[in-house]
């Protein structure tokens, strides 16, 4: 089993951008949580607080025309591809200025123009779908790569295994990224999984190299993703990456996550483990001025505030949207 060390060589501007991206995801998610408690966000929402290094690090390794397939926990993966905050907040709030005009909601964020080919809320479903996009790229010779994100609990559903075998036999340009945050909804994945490393220990079953990475180190994630994506682009076939991480909060909504030991939560939230704090410390150690980081943080805060207000200003979706776009002709007619 290989554990990849963080790549030592990145220039500071690249790192600052990666820091900005992680801070943006963190602060967006914190605001989304507040908006949920204030009942602006209805229904449900699943946050990536604590897991930002994965979405940010992988996105940094993707080409603009590569494809992301995310889950219901997909705000971060969507924003990391360059989607603006306002339409994402507005989608969470069910507004007409939402990313999908309120028709999808928090679990289905999609922005085709940014290569975000959907967020999927049925566990594992998007893995075979990502294979299809990769097959399309392979057939058309476009060099595009599909990247599918999913959780540790997802490795126990059939679609995962069908997709992995399928990608391997067709040598598809697809990268599977398991964000191992140790828990499913309210149960520790290890209690219901036959192997210790839910994804990495399954890799050999599909003729793939087991890959484990520190998912709270954006540089390490970036490096491993870059290698896998370039390999896929060059015709080397799929990769399965297990990124170890933790969600600071509960599974969804206002879940307090009480099924987890306090010491465990405290450890993962500590400055040594938390991906954003760690990255900040790394930048300071590299000689970046504190003021530079503070400016980035202030810029992000301003962006989050402005996006929150712009989203809140959106109207409720009108009746014109209700019967729109079931079919490619834009309508919903099923009979004459």
């Amino acid at each position: 089993m290989t554990t990849t060390e963080a790549s030592p060589v990145h220039d500071v501007d690249f790192k600052l951008e990666l820091y900005r991206s992680q801070v943006a995801l963190r602060r967006f998610e914190s605001r989304a949580y507040d908006l949920f408690l204030e009942n602006y966000v209805k229904g449900t929402s699943h946050l990536s607080i604590g897991q930002e290094a994965i979405a940010a690090g992988v996105a940094a390794a993707m080409r603009p025309d590569d494809w992301t397939f995310a889950t219901y926990r997909g705000h971060a993966h969507t924003l990391a591809r360059g989607v603006a905050m306002t339409p994402v907040f507005a989608e969470l709030m069910g507004r007409a200025n939402g990313l999908m005009a309120g028709k999808g909601g928090s679990m289905h964020l999609t922005s085709v123009e940014h290569g975000v080919m959907g967020s999927y809320a049925i566990i594992g479903a998007h893995l075979p779908i990502a294979c299809g996009a990769a097959w399309s790229a392979q057939y058309r010779g476009t060099d595009q790569v599909a990247v599918a994100f999913f959780g540790d609990g997802t490795v126990n559903i059939g679609a995962f295994h069908e997709a992995l075998n399928f990608a391997a036999i067709w040598k598809l340009p697809v990268v599977f990224i398991c964000e191992n945050n140790l828990y499913m909804e309210y149960t520790r994945t290890s209690e219901v999984t036959a192997v210790a490393h839910p994804a990495a220990d399954r890799a050999v079953a599909y003729g793939l190299e087991p890959i484990l990475v520190d998912g709270n180190d954006a540089d390490a994630v970036y490096e491993i993703a870059r290698t896998a994506i370039e390999r896929a682009r060059a015709g080397g076939g799929p990769s399965l990456i297990e990124a170890e991480t933790y969600r600071h909060g509960g599974h969804s909504r206002a879940d307090p996550g009480k099924y987890r030991p306090d010491e465990e939560v405290a450890l993962w939230k500590s400055a040594e483990r938390d991906p954003v704090s760690r990255y900040r410390t790394r930048l300071l150690e590299l000689g970046v001025e504190e003021a530079t980081l503070v400016r980035i943080e202030a810029d992000v805060d301003a962006e989050v505030d402005a996006a929150t207000e712009a989203a809140k200003a959106g109207a409720a979706p009108g009746e014109d949207l209700l019967m729109k776009d079931v079919w490619a002709n834009g309508g919903a007619e099923w009979r004459n």
Partner: protein, 325 residues
């Protein structure tokens, strides 16, 4: 004009579209060199090669997931699910993903794909290889559903399905595979959402589909000999549904009978009957009568399966009784 079997028409329909459009690909289990377990796709592998005609593992979710991902990125895949019963292991991809993703994304994506599958009974395969599942597909918003009954319709509706920008579930009646029909030369392209009136009569209207079409036609001949003259409509397309043809032909005779292979409860005829009740009630001279498979798993033994599926005799007797009561 040539005489083709329903089975041969499948390969011809797919080949017609694959020749025309490089973005049409075909995938499924045993569909390549083997030509399909029903031999419905013989010759495609030889003509189009292993890149465009691809054998898959026994992974129905992967087959349909691959079709969906390919369709959302600009291809027009045709996927085979060997037996329609197997939809039960990949229904998530059909009903939750393919059907809903266009609407959920506010029209950002389209899914121009065809899922073809061997549907229905008559081959004594028992309850897990004989179900008629057109009503499963029909009740999911976002899916189009067609069921051809003749070789000519297989080709024409396949072409229409492939060219349509929406997902189409294309259900082939397995028991019709060896049946023959005249097929014109050259390209055949039909239209989804169009029913065909196969027989004109003045006393009663029969709406039917797939394997039940030849049986309804034979029953109509028997009934005609006894003085009941029936119109027979081949509904062909459940979504979109050509209700105008059904309403018009029902109003013309004043009676409607549906002949359905699917089990009774919420079969497609229930929707048709409710539309007719709402919109043509005052043209009716008697109740709408549904002739269906009973609400049971289909038994394997030939004697039992023959009792379960609507037969020519049951269709004729039911209509005869209803018309004389």
């Amino acid at each position: 004009m040539a005489e083709l079997t329903y089975r041969e028409a499948i390969a011809r329909g797919i080949a017609q579209e694959m020749r025309r459009d490089e973005s049409v690909l075909f995938l499924g289990e045993d569909v390549g060199a083997a030509g399909g377990v029903f031999k419905g796709t013989v010759g495609l592998f030889e003509e189009f090669g292993p890149v465009r005609v691809r054998d898959t593992p026994i992974s129905e979710q992967a087959i349909l997931g691959a079709a969906m991902g390919a369709a959302m990125t600009g291809l027009r895949p045709i996927a085979e699910i060997m037996f329609a019963d197997f939809f039960a292991v990949c229904w998530d991809i059909v009903a939750n993903e393919i059907a809903k993703s266009r609407y959920m994304t506010n029209g950002q994506m389209s899914f121009p794909l065809v899922i073809r599958s061997g549907n229905g009974g008559g081959l004594r395969f028992g309850a897990q290889h004989s179900q008629s599942v057109e009503n499963w597909a029909m009740m999911i918003p976002g899916l189009k559903v067609v069921v051809p009954s003749s070789p000519r319709d297989v080709i024409g509706l396949m072409a229409a399905a492939v060219r349509d920008d929406d997902p189409v579930v294309f259900l082939e009646s397995k028991a019709l595979y060896p049946t023959k029909g005249e097929v014109p030369d050259g390209e055949i392209v039909d239209a989804l959402g169009t029913a065909a009136v196969l027989r004109h009569g003045s006393d009663a209207t029969i709406a039917t589909l797939g394997l039940m079409v030849p049986r309804a036609l034979a029953a109509a001949e028997e009934l005609a000999a006894g003085g009941i003259d029936c119109t027979v409509i081949d509904v062909r397309s459940l979504i979109p549904l050509d209700t105008q043809t059904i309403l018009r032909e029902t109003s013309a005779t004043g009676r409607l009978f549906t002949v359905e292979e699917n089990p009774r409860v919420l079969g497609w005829g229930a929707e048709v009957a409710s539309i007719v009740a709402e919109e043509a009630f005052f043209d009716l001279d008697g109740p709408v009568v549904r002739i269906t498979t009973p609400h049971i798993p289909l038994p394997a033994a030939d004697a039992l399966e023959d009792m379960a599926l609507p037969s020519v005799e049951r269709i004729a007797t039911t209509i005869h009784k209803a018309m004389n009561s």
